[in-house]
């Protein structure tokens, strides 16, 4: 039995089932409120949900045994010039009780008590380059947090539109990891921090390898995010938002191409996931069971997730159409897990 936590424009949904037998909705929480992201931390069994009320502001809630508690400390310094706009992502860290959360305006929070209380990571918030940071269309969002298995002090972050940030000392210091990234929305040769990363994922069995979906471009890094090589040849489009990997295979990555930045829908009305098993040298379309005509879906950056690994890797993605699709065989075949949900913002599976 797999549990999917689906964050939507109108609340959090839990689905339980399997790609073969189908899924049932077993929970709806925060009805009517946008839930940008939710996951269950397997270490504590708590659900952590970022709820972005347009009225009352962004809040992070912790769910345990059916009861929800608002987490403390998910806010910017009082009396400053900025307010927290959104919580984009929540990621378990490598140490017990540690979690990270990324938000808008380009901020990182850390919890050491399983998500009940949080502290702003000041070293990033007060970074001297911050006055030059610029937002992407979705805001100044810190949306990707890649931990390093077994090395809790090493993190890779990605922000839209401030590129990749790396730390080897638990966030005491940060440096860019943008060598090789090219932004087509800037004049050629322009030196800029305005690098619009859409998603960043680490290959856990070879942690120095990362894959990236960029705002036009799919990239791979083999040096822990210091430099990047474009690997988008062979895709129908190298524009898209989310990216997933098979944890068992460092040469694997999955993307869901959208037509272009000017037309953020699945190309030609066909929904297809593209898989590489050779680190981006070639890509294979995986669409068996997915809508093949008149399907113009938009899949957002947090709405693609996996569970397990190898031939039994389960993959799930949701679209703003309210559809959720799943595969129980590493993308070879797909089925519909849910239809007619509110627009899907995020999909995460239990471990």
């Amino acid at each position: 039995m797999t549990e999917l936590l689906v964050g939507t424009k109108k609340g959090l949904f839990a689905l339980e089932g399997s790609p073969r037998d189908g899924f049932e909705v077993t929970l709806r929480a925060f009805a009517g409120e946008p839930v940008e992201y939710a996951l269950r931390d397997p270490r504590t069994n708590r659900i952590l949900a970022g709820v972005i009320s347009p009225f009352y502001g962004p809040k992070l809630f912790v769910g345990e045994n059916g009861a929800w508690e608002q987490a403390k400390g998910v806010e910017l310094p009082a009396g400053g010039k900025e307010a927290l706009e959104r919580i984009w992502v929540i990621v378990p860290g490598e140490q017990d009780g540690v979690l990270y959360a990324g938000g808008d305006p380009g901020v990182l929070f850390k919890s050491t008590d399983g998500g009940l209380s949080w502290e702003l990571v000041r070293s990033l918030y007060e970074h001297p380059t911050r006055p030059g940071w610029s937002p992407g269309g979705g805001g100044l969002c810190l949306h990707s947090i890649a931990t390093w298995p077994g090395e809790p002090d090493r993190l890779a972050l990605a922000l839209s539109a401030v590129g990749v940030w790396l730390t080897d000392d638990g966030g005491a210091t940060w440096r860019h990891g943008n060598q090789g990234l090219g932004a087509r929305y800037l004049p050629e040769g322009t030196e800029s921090l305005s690098l619009c990363v859409h998603d960043l994922q680490r290959a856990p069995r070879r942690p120095e390898r990362l894959f990236m979906q960029f705002h036009g471009g799919v990239y791979r890094s083999d040096d822990a995010g210091e430099s990047w090589t474009e690997i988008g040849d062979g895709l129908p489009s190298d524009f898209g938002f989310p990216l997933a990997v098979d944890p068992a295979d460092p040469d694997s990555a999955y993307v869901i191409p959208l037509t272009a930045d000017m037309d953020r829908t699945t190309p030609d009305g066909r929904v297809r996931v593209y898989e590489t098993r050779d680190a981006g040298a070639t890509w294979t379309p995986r669409g068996d069971g997915l809508p093949a005509e008149h399907a113009y879906l938009t899949v957002l950056r947090e709405a693609f997730a996996g569970r397990g690994e190898g031939p039994e890797l389960e993959l799930y993605f949701g679209a703003t159409s309210g559809d959720v699709f799943g595969s129980g065989d590493a993308g070879a075949t797909w089925s519909c897990a849910a239809t007619r949900l509110p627009p899907v913002y995020s999909v995460r599976c239990n471990a």
Partner: protein
């Protein structure tokens, strides 16, 4: 002290719909209310001390802002704005 009236989740978080609060301006009043009712912290005012974008504050039935002066017998309603909703 002025009387602050709340609805919806704000009422639940504050433990009731009406609260007598002291303050010379709307900002002072709401800061004091959030301080006295910690569960309300950050729900009406953001980190900058501003009234959240889609919350409206009315003083004796007239739309007010952070700097609106408050008298001892004033009635202050805190309401979600229609602008915050979406289809």
């Amino acid at each position: 002290m002025a009387l602050v009236r709340l609805r919806g989740p704000l009422k639940q978080l504050a433990g009731g719909p009406e609260h007598a609060v002291a303050g010379a301006t709307v900002a002072e009043l709401l800061t004091a209310l959030e301080r006295d009712r910690p569960a309300l912290h950050g729900w009406i005012l953001d980190e900058r001390g501003r009234i959240r974008r889609h919350i409206n504050v009315f003083v004796n039935g007239e739309r007010g802002g952070e700097d609106t002066a408050i008298g001892a017998d004033d009635r202050v309603d805190v309401l979600p704005a229609i602008s915050g909703g979406s289809a």
